[in-house]
Symmetry: C2
Subunit: 424 residues, 2 copies
């Protein structure tokens, strides 16, 4: 299978140089990027007036949560979780979660996400939806034991069950990731066991850390130290760890994260909407920490649009520091592409020969993207997910001219609506 994308503006290489070029995809790899490629290809796409961009890597989400979109807004995190989200989540069956996963996958395809790191329940059901959708999913079961040793064992067991089910699918596009929920919801015994298992299985780990001041207070009270120092002391940190949020980090925390090569997944929309706080982006980047970008779940965002998320990241840090030069367009574009791919050990996030063919085509024939004065600026500051026209993952076209080829859109929208009616 080969695809030739002609006549587009291509965001090329690790430095996002915008060039007029054709892109040839062979199998699941980028074979050639240059002017006037003449090779024959199975599929030819005319990208005149369009931009060919790396697909986005959503580095922190809970993909089935689209079901709960808009059910409770304008509330603090713990009220929102304890009184609105967790009671509804307690009722979710495998079938409900799969309906939510289809909705999330559909939304991601339509807004240009090609890979994502997920945390939820019944992830083997999510994996089936992701496989069918054609996306790349890094899927973690969110473990919570609340210090109860019986639960610790059960959570580990469930994680390993889901891990096996996902590995049995035997796909390069879906991978299991260990996902202890957070230091305030997980015992040290659970966290230590996760570290051991991750080492054994060479798996990634993802966890929520330092999201709210309330969390900091709890950990300080329980352990007398910051969540990052705690995790460092139990040997939990490593370059295989993707820490979501990282809002309340002091200088010592940041140095520790840099030393261990931990990736932080920044979630500006969620941190703003839940009033969690502003993560110290510039200090993390200055310390050399790899920072990716995530939407968090659609219930605290309330969408999975990485283009919108880039704008929020850029704008939030400028106003917070009163410095308009921080979080410039290229920096946040890098967070949403290369940095995310690097965290997932994925040879993607870049359009260049030999990288995986995960890319999107964006229609620039729209008033808000004209004149085409600056492609990266327009993607970060002017575009939205709806501008994505074509999505290619692993060398396969999964959306062409806004039509999703892998999923039945109407059936999924109906399914989501019926699922939430059942939960009411």
């Amino acid at each position: 299978m080969s695809i030739l994308i002609r006549n587009g503006r291509v965001i090329y290489g690790e430095n996002f140089e915008v060039i007029r070029a054709d892109v040839l995809i062979e199998g699941n790899r980028i074979a050639k990027v240059s002017k006037d490629i003449n090779e024959a290809a199975d599929t030819v796409i005319d990208a005149k007036g369009r931009v060919v961009s790396p697909g986005f890597v959503n580095l922190h989400t809970h993909s089935p949560m689209g079901l709960l979109r808009g059910l409770a807004d304008d509330l603090p995190l713990m009220d929102w979780l304890q009184n609105h989200i967790w009671p509804r989540e307690a009722k979710l069956t495998r079938e409900h979660i799969k309906a939510g996963a289809y909705l999330g996958a559909l939304e991601m395809i339509k807004t240009g996400t090609t890979a994502f790191l997920d945390m939820y329940f019944q992830m083997d059901a999510v994996a089936e939806a992701v496989l069918e959708a054609g996306l790349r999913g890094y899927l973690s079961y969110g473990m919570i034991d609340l210090g109860d040793p019986e639960k610790t064992g059960n959570e580990i067991k469930e994680a390993l069950r889901e891990r096996k089910a996902i590995e049995d699918l035997n796909s390069d596009r879906v991978h299991f990731v260990f996902g202890p929920h957070a230091p305030y919801t997980c015992s040290l015994a659970l966290l230590k066991e996760v570290r051991k298992l991750a080492n054994e299985h060479n798996s990634l780990i993802t966890i929520h850390v330092s999201e709210t001041m309330a969390e900091l207070g709890k950990i300080q009270e329980r352990y007398g130290k910051s969540p990052v120092v705690l995790l460092d002391e139990i040997g939990f940190l490593g370059s295989d760890l993707i820490m979501a949020h990282g809002v309340w980090l002091d200088s010592r925390d940041i140095q520790i994260l840099a030393r261990h090569g931990v990736t932080v997944a920044h979630n500006p929309a969620s941190n703003m909407k839940l009033a969690s706080g502003v993560m110290p982006l510039q200090r993390l980047l200055n310390a050399g920490v790899n920072v990716g970008l995530g939407t968090d779940g659609a219930a605290s965002n309330n969408n999975l649009d990485m283009l919108e998320e880039m704008k929020l990241a850029a704008l939030l840090h400028k106003v917070h520091t009163l410095d308009p030069t921080v979080a410039d367009a290229k920096t946040v574009f890098r967070m949403a592409t290369i940095n995310g791919a690097r965290a997932l050990r994925l040879n993607a996030g870049v359009i260049k020969e030999d990288y995986l063919a995960d890319m999107i085509i964006i229609d620039f024939n729209r008033p808000h993207l004209r004149p085409v004065n600056n492609v990266i600026s327009h993607l970060v500051y002017s575009a939205s997910g709806n501008d994505v026209e074509t999505t290619i993952v692993d060398g396969k076209i999964i959306m062409l001219d806004r039509e999703v080829l892998t999923l039945d859109e109407e059936r999924i929208l109906d399914g989501a609506e019926k699922t939430i009616e059942k939960l009411a």
Copy 2:
């Protein structure tokens, strides 16, 4: 002329109640909103799976600035203005500005704005584009005299010339507004003359006030008081005044604005992108000040999308105050609709009998807007301008199913591209 919109979810009345109803438009007014309207109509629109919403009122923009979109980002306000924007603007001819005005009008129609308050140059040219587009434009010539008495006279003369040209168009949809740029760029003589003329002509006034800390310093140095106190003392304030930005306001300023019934146009994207600061939204609302919403120009945003602007407003104030309950979805929706209409003395911003027929239809058959758990929440937190399908202004359909009926889209996009090439 009559239009019947059937089977939609309608955001009804001043409290934005979401009901299933039909909407009958007769002439330029809303004639009836109820279930199962059987009257015949010249045009019938099926809004099944769609939401019928008041159109948005963009209360502060510089519509032709789309031309300069993305030409200079990630810079401080004065560097951005003095070294990038003003030099390019100095080259703009009437023809260039009209090309920019068409681009702005097109973008606004496609993202659901039905009325806007503008400040730029050659506003009679802008008025012609607005008339053709079918929008409502409140158009101010941005006066700057920098304390030079000769310039004062010339600026007043140009304003009155543009005023006459716009009034001569004799349309209910375009109106002249007096637009002295800001207290730091205008002499007191100019500001006093504007107040006198506005009273004589019963015109609105718009002005930038307290946008940056640097501005505050300048005014403090020159006059020994805050910009708001200064404007109060010269008798400039009134309920006919729409003040853009209002970022750096102290409690005394807020009380003064409330007492005079001044409207403040909030521009979260621009204030964030230029790192100007965070306006005290909650304190203004608590004091009873009317606050509307604006995108500012597309060069400091970088689009004119009021749906995105609502989300930015909601998220910014939650994280800034660390209180997720402020700037809730209905409050910012109100800012983007009724509050803006009230400032413009426009009987719009509400879908209810006898209001002007300025409304939009939004396609909710999209994954990021499903399930339809909460319509107002979805518009504020999940939607983007691209979701707007149909735009109706003054009882006329100006976009139907994403096709703009009043303007030649391709010609406008080409025109914008050619204009910026000439300016390079």
